[in-house]
């Protein structure tokens, strides 16, 4: 018999293999459309995985994660915009077309934003935390809605910024797909190391019982803030990839419903599993894409499916394959 641990491992390998082969199969089948579609899915999977780090592992229900996604996206858009206009951001920061500069810059800015939002938000917990992260994200949203220099709520269209390291052409659908796929694998690997490390234990301990953690001698706030900042940075990277993919960015990327989508992906796939959010992103975005073909009231179908999953597979689609962990209720 195959144990449930092996079952989940096989499932992950199959899923990753399928994603690795997708551009080849799509090209042969003449359905290139799917390459861009799935690249978008993988980008959101990266964002969902970063959210899982704080939501699934850390128990921090942030309803503002899209702000970090959006900040990262705007960093790339603004840098490329200034590079093509040959002007400077705030009069002194030059733009750049190079993703190897723009993407890390996006991570840095999103990390800094997450740090400051976390600094205040993590003083609270429970519903207050949900509301305060939402409030901060809305503030960021309205900053960009009203920032006329970068298109306001019409958004900002830009050209260029799609040649990586001087020779990798991200304008090529397949090449860019594999770049995103490589980033995803990197995020999964580093995430896996992180959650098993001492730091990961502390984060999980905070989810289980933060009061006890403090009594054991952990300054929990610092650890949670670090996790929150790291998650923000990775979400910023996803945003950067998104901007590069779309060559267009508007504040809708950081609308609060987008944060909700990310939470749904994590819950749908399985909180605290890392691979779950990848599954969740695939399932969520395919349903979002194809259910409307059957009915314009697709959300009437989608809603009950979500409810059923939450009721019957409390650890999501992926968690369902994992060995049961007692005591932890929904996750573990």
């Amino acid at each position: 018999m195959i144990s449930s641990l092996d079952r989940s491992r096989i499932f992950v390998l199959l899923l990753l293999a399928a994603l690795a082969l997708l551009p080849i199969v799509a090209t042969i089948g003449g359905e290139e459309f799917y390459i861009g579609q799935f690249r978008r899915i993988l980008i959101f999977a990266i964002a969902a995985i970063s959210l899982d780090l704080i939501l699934g592992y850390g128990g921090m229900v942030s309803l503002g994660h899209a702000a970090f996604l959006g900040a990262g996206a705007y960093v790339v858009a603004i840098l490329v915009h200034h590079a093509s206009e040959e002007t400077r951001f705030l009069g002194f920061i030059p733009g750049t077309f190079e993703p190897l500069i723009a993407w890390p810059a996006a991570m840095l800015v999103s990390a800094a934003l997450a740090f400051f939002i976390g600094l205040v938000s993590l003083r609270t917990s429970g519903v207050y935390f949900i509301m305060i992260t939402l409030a901060f994200a809305q503030m960021v949203y309205y900053v960009f809605v009203s920032w006329r220099a970068y298109g306001g709520d019409d958004g900002l269209r830009f050209r260029g910024g799609d040649t990586l390291a001087g020779f990798i052409d991200l304008g090529n659908d397949v090449v860019f797909y594999y770049v995103v796929f490589a980033v995803l694998l990197g995020v999964l690997y580093l995430g896996q190391r992180l959650v098993k490390s001492r730091f990961g234990r502390v984060i999980e301990g905070c989810r289980e019982n933060e009061r006890r953690m403090r009594a054991l001698g952990f300054p929990t706030y610092r650890y949670k803030l670090t996790a929150f900042t790291l998650a923000g940075a990775v979400a910023g990277l996803a945003g950067a990839l998104f901007a590069t993919q779309e060559s267009y960015i508007s504040p809708s990327i950081m609308h609060w419903t987008r944060s909700g989508d990310l939470i749904i992906m994590v819950i749908l796939g399985g909180m605290g599993t890392l691979y779950g959010p990848l599954v969740g992103a695939v399932v969520f975005m395919l349903m979002e894409k194809f259910l409307p073909d059957y009915t314009q009231h697709w959300q009437i179908v989608f809603g009950p499916i979500l409810v059923l999953i939450v009721l019957f597979a409390r650890r999501g689609v992926f968690g369902w394959l994992l060995p049961a962990r007692p005591g932890g209720g929904g996750h573990g």
């Binding site: 001492r198 730091f199 234990r201 301990g205 403090r214």
Partner: protein
């Protein structure tokens, strides 16, 4: 009579006050715990025992008074800082990490006092610096065979043992035990009493306990709390004959 020179108390609280609205939960309370002793705090329900523990451990900020631990003023230090200085506590309501195994629980407690935990790379479950001492610690409290069991699946008494193993794993200079026998069956309580007796040889303990048999069997000194005030403090023999205590508290209890 010349008193022999004694060491300074390990834990010393002076003039502690804690109010919740109009209720005074801790009323100008002073208390000293000498190194090596088991000091029990008893009192009827609502006497403010758990409030006192919360103040001593740092979960509650006192409205007035000072707390010194191991010669330092810790009055304004947060919980984790006091814990790092060696003031460990167990909880009245079992609060182990239920989704973690017994071993992981103790390893986490060890980790808390092994420098910082901003370590992102190495697998903690394969770290001999955590796993080996954690295993020893579990053997010591009699849970050696249960190391790989999730805490949620341990029997109540075992969870209480695990709770104390975790407090011990932090390498404390002093334990604050909040009703370690709470909810235990007779047999489990007897075993726990025996275990606390062996602990007594190496640890300083402040014990809050309802079970009078346990308190009088273990404690070197007893402080009696009524409405947040210490009405008496002394050896078990002194407390037994103290009139005020009898009136206020032991009078209602057949045991005494």
């Amino acid at each position: 009579m010349a008193e022999p020179l004694v060491e300074a108390p390990l834990l010393e609280a002076r003039g502690l006050i804690k109010r919740f609205g109009g209720i005074v939960a801790t009323d100008n309370l002073s208390l000293a715990v000498e190194p090596g002793e088991i000091h029990a705090v008893i009192g009827p329900n609502g006497a403010g025992k758990t409030t006192l523990i919360a103040q001593l451990s740092g979960e509650l900020r006192s409205d007035a008074g000072t707390i010194r631990f191991a010669g330092e003023d810790v009055t304004d230090l947060p919980v984790y800082d006091r814990s790092r200085r060696g003031l460990a506590r167990s909880f009245q309501i079992t609060s182990v990490f239920r989704a973690f195994t017994a071993l992981e629980n103790v390893a986490l407690a060890l980790q808390a006092h092994d420098s910082h935990s901003f370590r992102f790379w190495k697998d903690a479950s394969r770290d001999p610096a955590l796993v080996e001492p954690a295993r020893r610690m579990l053997e010591q409290v009699g849970l050696g065979a249960r190391a790989e069991i999730a805490a949620a699946e341990l029997a109540h008494g075992e969870q209480r043992q695990l709770e104390i193993a975790m407090a011990l794993a932090t390498g404390p200079r002093m334990l604050l035990l909040d009703e370690p026998m709470a909810g235990m069956g007779r047999d489990e309580a007897v075993r726990m009493t025996a275990f606390l007796r062996t602990l007594k040889q190496s640890e300083t303990i402040l014990l809050i306990e309802h079970d009078m048999d346990v308190v009088f069997a273990l404690a070197d000194r007893i402080t009696v709390l009524v409405y947040g005030r210490a009405i008496a403090s002394g050896t078990p023999a002194e407390i037994r004959v103290n009139q005020e205590v009898r009136q206020a508290y032991l009078g209602e209890d057949e045991h005494a």
